[in-house]
Symmetry: D2
Subunit: 284 residues, 4 copies
């Protein structure tokens, strides 16, 4: 029913005529543009573009599109990525003991809010296995500690490969992945339970309570080697008062976490997020 | 320092190639596109586009741009509007007794948040004259009642003409303008003190308090003949509780009103708002 | 671990000395007050009070508390309600085809956010049975139409009685219950998918899209005979733009609905909501 | 018209019977309680109470109230503060070059939102003098630099004394006051342009832009010797995107700053804020 679209994300040095060149190429192949959004980072002299058009009636097949876009990007001295709206990335969700983000994501997949498949759950604890089995997802319980971290990460990397995983989502995983791991599998989204850059690191709600803040937040971001410093995709907040104990912050925080993570993931899956200079451009 | 841009807003029946045609025309005249944003209303089969490019180095003078864009729009069976970022529309602010929106707008003009000139205030009451004189703005006190409405409106229309006013802003004017007036001067933005369509008409805060709502709001919209039914530009809200009396709703409402009105006006002045089918497309 | 508290909610004509009288009675029985919150509706000359104290060490047993509070309320010409924090009301959730509110509530019960038991689901459609069975809840599929409404309602009332239900929650039930039903079972919370009083009745998201609003909302309220006019407990909102189709409003709305409903239910279950004059006082 | 109220704020070690003791004392003097709000910090074993009652008909004069409350506080091993709603604290506003918070506060005083008098403006720059003169406020231009700081602070302290100032508000003062100054005049509220504890110190908007956050904020707090670490009264936020340049963050931030500062100041002036353990309890 819903027709497939081609989504081009391109970043290159800015110069006049780029929008025309890109849309002209689409038009010359009889593409009907559904969305076109561009951003110029004048500070860095960069041009970012996201164009989405119908694949039906388009004059090129998928393979040919990849090829021509690659030539286009080379000519513009830029980088391009092409996706199709009917792709369903294979996503592994990493969890610990808390179920709220996991259940929320599985429900959103089921109700077609998130165009992805979740064939694999990686878990640092055993608690959430029943929930995952209900949803028919493989649950791999891999305890991770300071001692066995390299072995555990090796184990996980093998599973990611075996299950042909495209993207990992840390849904309250509560563990830090090593630089080595990230080099081998860099495509990871995390939810951190604070308004980054406030309260980086462990126990942000406890520290937020100590500080007496009136707002708590959650931040969904891409994972990089610098802990909690990756490009931010989405942030949400909730109001708190002196009446709220740490447990109340944790409870209220769960809602902000799952909303921020779900929104970020949807934006990512619909290819609305471009990463550059340690930041993101989010084309809404 | 900041270079002038050309802003094109175009609406026409949707068909493939429109983005390319528009951006191609800009490129063929050596225009460097700063922003390009498009929207397709598939329901109505309409294409809306807003493109902004640098006037410097552009191959056409202002007059020629108007002319060529008109031809383009005709060819596409659409309607186009061209503006330049260095225009400063002449705005009349209509007030009654309340100062908060008026003062807020005058301050934002002064601090360069709103690119407009305010040569004229139309007032239904005498109270705000001193404030306006401080800002060096002509203050015309024109009492309006059921009896003298046609005469008062005639008077106002003459002033709008005399002061060469482009846009009127009803900043808590508390009076309904006649259909006749709107035909003669249709370019008007109003701030209504409720989350439209809730609480249309008079005394929305009193009725919101009666109803026991937990959120109050403000709506900035273009004025049409159907009271409070015009195209919505911006809406803001504030939380209230059972502890808030009507006066508290009014007080909290003032902040939502001035924020909604200021945002809407800025969007309008930067030509980010397109009206169609009784609604707005707001290109952020 | 967590000690039980007594929660008194009292409403009576206002006069000096009421706080002292109430807290004095608690103190005279050696009660340690945890929370005390009062509100005076000067317009109506009413005093509302919510006092919560530890049951441990308190000088009266539960039965005696009920009795003495009843005498106190009579003396003050008011109405009182006493609850204990260890009560777990038996709640029936009414659903149609949409799962988001139902799943959300069941998860919050499981994770101890909502102190209630859910022994019964009343469903107008068959779709959600598997989900309910996973959570071990009885699922009663009772199709309701114009023709069979009286019979269906009779059926439901019998089930509510059989399962000893204290409270019904309409979690996107999409059916209007008759006045007769409400007289027999008046304790009902509903989630309506608009910022009431805007868009009362059917298809609020379609009408919100038609109107071109920039904010959509959800309203959790007690059900009364006048459709969508019951006392409001909680309201939430989400931002929308011209890019959002009706389906996007529905999708975004789901998050505001489940948050508003969950918050309202938690407030209700913790006895933080008092209804009076068609409105609520919510003691946070 | 509006009758005067007595406002008691008390903090003492928690034990049963405190609410009764306080409200009993009010009742024994025929006081009609308008608001009573309490908070128990179980972690610290502290009881905080705010009670407000009518002065009319009350059995004690102001002097006697102070005296009896002092005795009561001593007996409870606590600290008490008594204020009357007809007090109008004398407030000095400290400014630099930016006018938005200053103008906002002066307007709110004029429109009776803030029950205070502003007889004095302390300015680090000359720019805002005309604005202050319009409002009839003394403007003292005291340039402050590394070299002359002790002398400048001495000068300011003399002015605060001369003008009998009760409270200082740093409305974008952009200068750090010395520990010595704070010891001599500790009653100060500041507005910081970030969601503390994120982006403490200088140029928070520039650093927020660098980091690529999706939310910016403002924090109104009491000033203590540790820069930007004082007890937080109110926090507000605004959404930003990749399209926003630093100047846009600054512009959007102005609205969050003035709202946060105005709310915090109103809460402070109505004696709704109690400071303890480096945090605030805000009785709404």
């Amino acid at each position: 029913m819903i027709s497939t679209t081609v989504i081009l994300q391109l970043i290159c040095p800015d110069r006049p005529g780029l929008v025309s060149e890109l849309s002209g190429w689409v038009a010359s192949n009889r593409g009907n543009i559904r969305h076109a959004d561009h951003h110029t980072d004048s500070d860095a002299g960069l041009f970012l573009s996201r164009i989405e058009w119908d694949l039906d009636e388009f004059g090129l097949e998928r393979e040919a599109i990849f090829q021509e876009i690659q030539e286009l990007a080379d000519r513009l001295d830029g980088k391009a990525q092409v996706n199709f709206s009917d792709e369903r990335p294979r996503v592994a969700i990493f969890v610990s003991k808390q179920s709220h983000c996991l259940l929320d994501l599985l429900w959103r997949v089921q109700s077609k809010e998130l165009p992805m498949d979740v064939p694999l759950i990686i878990a640092n604890h055993a608690e959430l296995e029943p929930l995952c089995l209900e949803f028919g997802v493989a649950y791999k319980f891999i305890p991770m500690s300071v001692d066995n971290k390299p072995a555990a990460e090796k184990n996980i990397l093998e599973l990611l490969s075996e299950y042909q995983i495209d993207l990992a989502v840390l849904a309250k995983f509560m563990q830090v992945l090593s630089s080595d791991f990230l080099e081998k599998f860099p495509n990871i989204i995390n939810i951190h339970h604070s308004s980054l850059p406030a309260f980086k690191g462990a126990q942000p709600y406890h520290r937020a309570w100590e500080r007496g803040v009136k707002l708590i937040g959650a931040t969904a971001h891409y994972v990089t080697k610098d802990l909690d410093d990756g490009p931010i995709i989405e942030q949400t907040i909730a109001h708190v008062s002196h009446r709220d104990e740490v447990e109340d912050l944790i409870r209220k925080g769960r809602d902000t976490e799952r909303i921020a993570l779900a929104r970020a993931l949807r934006l990512h899956l619909r290819r609305q997020v471009m990463v550059y200079r340690g930041r993101t451009a989010v084309f809404q």
